[in-house]
Amino acid sequence: MLQIKNLSFSYGNTPYILNNLNFELSDGKYISILGENGSGKSTLIKLILGLLTPTKGTIQNTFQQTAYVSQRFESLNKQFPITVKEVLTCYQKARHLPGSNLIAESLALVNMQEYADALIGTLSGGQFQKIFIARAVMGNPDLLVLDEPSNGIDIKSQNEIYQLIRSLNREKHITVICVEHNLKAAIRNSHLLYHMSNGIGHMCNPKNYIKEYLMENTGVEEYVSI
């Protein structure tokens, strides 16, 4: 379970980026965090991952193991000399994860067995994201945090990735926190939506998100077509 109470955060003496956030995420749920650029989504993720310390309030994280899939494709050094198999091997060895067949199983999970010896820089955005999801679930995490998993990826690959994340959540019961810009995917896959705006959060039900929140707060009719 993840419990966030009265969470506020600021860098030094600057104004608060997050202001008095409160929410609870129980085991096995899939939550999407939505909001415009600069609304504080990434900062919230960094706080949950323990990369930043709250200025005020508390984060109670009772999950045993957290895995993270960052938004790395854009910033990746395409010349980096590492194969898919080596990416997974160094993760397994560095974390002392047991299992002689673990890498083959992980590649099979994302249906990318034939790419084991491919250089990471030669993969497409969708393939790259799948490999990072495979790596993240290698250690059987109970919490999976993803930062915009469909960013810069074609529609076909997006569908495959969301199907994979959904099956990890529904079948393997991994709790998912997903920072999203893809509203359609968030509504389809999530149990809960957390909308952030100017550092303030608002928990919504995906079914009523457009009607109850977006249209009321923005007045934009075009959301109805989604």
Partner: protein, 273 residues
């Protein structure tokens, strides 16, 4: 030439250097931190000067002071994240300042030329044992940290979240860089050590292979650079450092040219078939 004891010692040290330099260089180049090698090489000159002044083995002096500066760089790098190269300039200035002041003031009653340009004539048995011990310890530590280092340089944030002690490993790595430089300065020379750390890996990267093959090619190229550099320097009676640097650059150019030819010839040969 192998009837001379110093030549045997020099050759053995050369083999150790040819493994260690690319091993460290691989991580430094991929971290985009090659200039750290150059800065610590200059810091080692201060260590040599302090060692000679205080009648301590200059390689040991270089190792101690270079390790200290390596740890300081890592500490400051964490503090001034966006100005990492500025820290290298500060440490470089400080260490060169110490070295030049000590040497020019006459406090050091010895010639430091052999450390600047490299020399195979000055390698004593004591140096050989010290270098061997430092090399074996360094190789053992790298073998233990190999996968964690690989994970960290590919995805430092991911490594941090996965529970890898990134901070501690970075400090240990700084000391390993210091050890490699101290081991290498006598044969290769302070002025060209950074090229030996970066160039064999730069050459291997042209082959566009995975991490392990790139590293193995780096070690092979480093071995060719150092051994042929030592032989050539012996025959033409020049300092080995300069000759090794020249061989490294020519080998890089050779591999680049070869790759260009293969890239252009490949499609033509396919069409001909």
């Amino acid at each position: 030439m192998f009837q001379y004891n110093f030549m045997q010692n020099a050759f053995m040290i050369a083999i150790l250097i040819s493994i260690l330099c690319p091993l460290i260089g691989m991580f430094l180049v991929l971290k985009r931190y090659s200039m750290m090698g150059d800065t610590l090489a200059h810091a080692s000159l201060a260590g040599v000067a302090v060692g000679l002044m205080s009648h301590v083995n200059p390689i040991l002096g270089a190792f101690l002071l270079t390790s200290f500066f390596g740890v300081v760089i890592e500490r400051l790098r964490r503090h001034f994240k966006n100005y990492a190269e500025l820290i290298l300039v500060v440490i470089l200035s400080l260490s060169v300042g110490i070295a030049i002041t000590l040497i020019s003031s006459g406090a050091v009653h010895a010639n430091v030329d052999s450390f600047l340009f490299g020399s195979i004539l000055t390698v004593t048995s004591q140096d050989f044992y010290l270098v061997s011990a430092l090399s074996l310890i360094s190789l053992f530590i790298i073998s233990q940290l190999y996968h964690s280092l690989m994970f960290m340089i590919f995805d430092e944030e991911g490594a941090l979240i996965a529970g890898i002690n990134v901070k501690w490993i970075n400090y240990v790595f700084s000391i390993l860089v210091a050890a490699t430089i101290s081991i290498s300065i006598q044969i290769v020379g302070i002025l060209v050590i950074s090229s030996l750390i970066a160039l064999p890996i730069a050459t291997a990267l042209q082959l566009q292979r995975g991490f392990k093959p790139t590293l193995l090619y780096g070690i092979l190229f480093s071995f060719i650079d150092i051994v042929s550099g030592i032989f050539l320097s012996y025959w033409i009676n020049a300092a080995p450092g300069g000759v090794i640097a020249l061989v490294s650059v020519f080998l890089l150019l050779g591999v680049l040219t070869f790759q260009k030819i293969v890239c252009h010839a490949g499609p033509i040969l396919k069409l001909a078939k």
